[in-house]
C-alpha cells in the first residue's frame, strides 16, 4: 500500500442512538477521483464531515499519508491538506469573490500580493475573474459553487472532498465543471472525493465508485461495475430487477 492516501478504516459515527456510519472503510489515493454515492440519508455527507473533523467519530481511524487525523480539529485537518466544499454552499458572503479565494492561502502564510496573483489565475480558470470585486453573496448559486471549489484549491490540498459540487448548476455549467474537475488530479496532484446524485457526472468523472447505504458499504469498484450491482440497484430502487420475482416464486 502506498502512503500517499487518505484512509478511512472501520469508521463509525453515532448521533444520539442512530448509527449514521457503521464500520465504513474507504481509501482515496493522490491523483485519483473517487465517487461516493448512495441514497438520501445514507451517510455520505456525514462521512465527509467525519473526515474533516466536523462531527466526532465514535470508532475507527482516519489517516492521511499514514498520520492519524482522528481527534484533530477541522482547522488542523485543513492545514494537514484535506479541504472540502459543503453540500449547502458556504461562502463568506460579505467578502469579495477574490477575497473568498485568496483567504485560503493567506491562512497558510502566503503574502497578500502572491495570494492575489494565485487567486486571479484560479478565478480566470473558473471563469469568474470578471466578478472578482463583487461580493460573494451577489453571485448565482452555480458561481458560488465554483468559488467554493477555487477557495479549496488555492490551498494546494492533498485531498479535496466535494459535497455535491454540481448541485444547482444548469447542464452547461455542470459539463464545464466536469471538464474542470477531471483535470484537477493531474494538474494539482490531489485526490478527489466527489459526492453527487448526478450519475452521469459520477460515471464520466470517477476512477472508482464507493456506494454506501445506511452508513455501510454496499459496493465498490468501477462505475460500470457498481451500477450493475444488485445491492446498489436494491438500495436505490428498493429491490433489484428480478429479485422480487425470485421472492415471489
Amino acid at each position: 500500500m502506498t502512503t500517499a492516501s487518505l484512509d478511512v478504516q472501520t469508521l463509525s459515527v453515532q448521533f444520539s442512538g442512530l448509527m449514521a456510519l457503521d464500520q465504513l472503510s474507504l481509501r482515496l489515493a493522490e491523483g485519483e477521483i473517487l465517487g461516493l454515492i448512495g441514497p438520501n440519508g445514507s451517510g455520505k455527507t456525514t462521512c465527509v464531515n467525519a473526515i474533516t473533523g466536523q462531527v466526532p467519530i465514535a470508532r475507527g481511524q482516519i489517516s492521511l499519508k499514514g498520520q492519524s487525523l482522528s481527534g484533530l480539529t477541522p482547522r488542523e485537518i485543513a492545514l494537514a491538506g484535506v479541504m472540502r466544499s459543503f453540500q449547502i454552499v458556504r461562502l463568506f458572503d460579505d467578502l469579495s469573490v477574490q477575497e473568498n479565494v485568496e483567504i485560503s492561502t493567506l491562512v497558510r502564510g502566503t503574502r497578500r500580493l502572491e495570494a492575489h496573483k494565485k487567486s486571479r489565475s484560479l478565478l480566470e480558470m473558473f471563469g469568474l475573474w470578471d466578478r472578482a470585486e463583487d461580493l460573494a453573496g451577489d453571485l448565482s448559486y452555480g458561481q458560488k459553487r465554483r468559488v467554493e471549489i477555487a477557495r479549496a484549491l488555492i490551498a494546494n490540498p492533498h485531498f479535496l472532498l466535494l459535497d455535491e459540487p454540481a448541485a444547482g448548476m444548469n447542464e452547461q455549467e455542470s459539463a464545464d465543471l466536469m471538464t474542470l474537475l477531471s483535470d484537477l488530479p493531474k494538474a494539482y496532484g490531489l485526490g478527489l472525493l466527489i459526492i453527487d446524485h448526478d450519475m452521469h457526472l459520477i460515471t464520466q468523472l470517477c476512477h472508482r465508485v464507493h456506494v454506501i447505504a445506511s452508513g455501510q458499504t454496499i459496493a465498490e469498484g468501477s462505475a460500470a461495475e457498481v451500477i450493475q450491482d444488485p445491492a446498489v440497484i436494491s438500495a436505490y430502487l428498493g429491490t433489484a430487477p428480478g429479485e422480487g420475482d425470485k421472492r415471489g416464486a
Binding site: R75, M83, L91, F92, I103, R112
Partner: protein
C-alpha cells in the same frame, strides 16, 4: 502587509475619512469658537473609541460591552503618570507609595495607558474568545462589570467612586485629530490585513472559516487586544481633556453611546464607524441645544432631560429595522464612490 497594494485599493476611503477629520479640526481651529473646539475634540476622541470597538466587533461580528471598561483602564493608568506628585496626596490619598513617584510626559502616559489596557485585555480575554453569539456578549458584559467594580472599589489607585482630579489638560485639537486619523488608519490596515480578513470570514461563516484552516479564537484575541489598546488610548486622551472623572464615566451610558455610533454607521466598515460617530456627535450637540432651548423657554413644567439618549435609542432601533448593517453595511466609502463612477462611465458608453 504590502503597503503599496493596500494604498492602491483604499487610498480613496482613507483620503475621504482623513479629509473629514482634518476639515473639521481645521475648521474648528480657524473659527476659534471654544464650544466648537470642545465638540470637535470630543468627536475625535469618540472616533478613537469607536474605531477600537470596530476593530473587534466590526471584524469578528461579536458585540463587546467590555470596551468602555478598557477606556477606563487607559484613563486611570495614564492619570497615575501625569497627576503632579504634590497633587497626588489630595487626589489619591491612599495611593501606594511605590506609585506616588511615577511621572511621565502626558503623551507617553497616554500611550502607556493604552498598553496597560491591551495587556489586561490579553490576560483576561483569551478563554472568552472561544465563545460566540449570546455567550460571548454576556461574558463581555460580565467583563465590563468586573472592570467597573475594580475601578469603583480600588480606592488606592482610582480614588474609589469619588472623582479623580488633578490631571493636566493636555488633549487639544491637534492631538485629538491626529489620534483620530491614526485610529482610522490603524482600523483600516487591520481590517485589510491577513488577520482582519480571516476574522471577517469567521464573522460571515464560522464553520467554513475553520474548514479553511483559520484559528478563529487567536484572530479574535488579537483584535480584542488591539481594540482595548485603542480604547485605552481614547480613555487617556479623554481623561486629559476633561481632567477629572469618576468610574461611572466608564459604564453603561458611555457604552451605549459608543455602541450607538458604531451600529448606526455600520460596524463592518471603517467608513461606517467614522460616519456614525460624526452623525451621532452632530445630532447629540444639536439635540443638546434644543434641550437647552426648551428648558430656557420653560415650555414644560419640569426640565427636559435625556432627549439625546432617547433619540439615540430610537435611531438605533430604526437603523436596526430599516438598515440592519448600518449606513455603510458592507463597502467602504471609497469603493462605493469608485463603483458609482464606473457605473456612470458604463452607462454613458452604452
Amino acid at each position: 502587509m504590502n503597503m503599496s497594494y493596500f494604498l492602491r485599493r483604499h487610498w480613496l476611503t482613507l483620503a475621504f475619512l482623513t479629509g473629514c477629520v482634518v476639515l473639521l479640526a481645521g475648521g474648528a481651529s480657524l473659527i476659534g469658537d471654544r464650544l466648537m473646539e470642545r465638540v470637535t475634540i470630543n468627536l475625535c476622541i469618540n472616533i478613537v473609541l469607536v474605531m477600537g470597538l470596530q476593530v473587534f466587533m466590526g471584524n469578528s461580528g461579536i458585540l463587546s460591552f467590555a470596551h468602555i471598561g478598557f477606556m477606563g483602564v487607559g484613563a486611570y493608568s495614564a492619570a497615575l503618570f501625569t497627576i503632579p506628585s504634590q497633587m497626588k496626596n489630595m487626589a489619591l490619598p491612599e495611593l501606594y507609595p511605590v506609585l506616588a513617584g511615577l511621572s511621565l510626559d502626558p503623551l507617553l502616559a497616554i500611550l502607556v495607558g493604552g498598553l496597560i489596557a491591551a495587556v489586561i485585555a490579553a490576560l483576561v480575554s483569551y478563554p472568552l474568545m472561544r465563545l460566540s453569539d449570546a455567550a460571548a456578549v454576556i461574558t463581555s458584559f460580565a467583563l465590563l462589570v468586573v472592570l467597573h467594580t475594580v475601578m469603583l472599589h480600588w480606592s488606592e489607585v482610582t480614588n474609589g467612586p469619588r472623582t479623580l482630579f488633578g490631571l493636566p489638560k493636555y488633549t487639544g485639537l491637534l492631538l485629538a485629530a491626529s489620534a483620530a486619523v491614526l485610529a482610522i488608519w490603524v482600523g483600516m490596515i487591520f481590517k485589510e490585513s491577513r488577520i482582519g480578513l480571516l476574522l471577517r470570514a469567521s464573522r460571515s461563516d464560522e464553520i467554513a472559516a475553520a474548514a479553511i484552516g483559520s484559528n478563529i479564537p487567536q484572530m479574535r484575541w488579537m483584535a480584542f487586544i488591539l481594540g482595548a489598546f485603542l480604547a485605552g488610548i481614547g480613555g487617556g486622551l479623554w481623561g486629559h481633556f476633561i481632567t477629572s472623572f469618576a468610574p461611572k464615566a466608564f459604564f453603561l451610558k458611555e457604552t451605549f453611546v459608543i455602541l450607538g455610533m458604531l451600529i448606526i454607521g455600520g460596524p463592518r466598515t471603517v467608513s461606517g464607524a467614522v460616519m456614525g460617530t460624526l452623525i451621532v456627535t452632530g445630532t447629540f450637540e444639536g439635540l443638546r441645544t434644543v434641550e437647552n432651548g426648551l428648558n430656557r423657554a420653560e415650555l414644560f413644567s419640569g426640565q427636559v432631560i435625556g432627549l439625546t439618549e432617547i433619540v439615540l435609542a430610537l435611531a438605533m432601533i430604526a437603523v436596526l429595522i430599516l438598515r440592519p448593517g448600518g449606513l455603510f453595511p458592507a463597502r467602504e466609502i471609497g469603493t462605493l464612490i469608485t463603483l458609482r463612477a464606473k457605473g456612470k462611465r458604463m452607462n454613458s458608453s452604452v
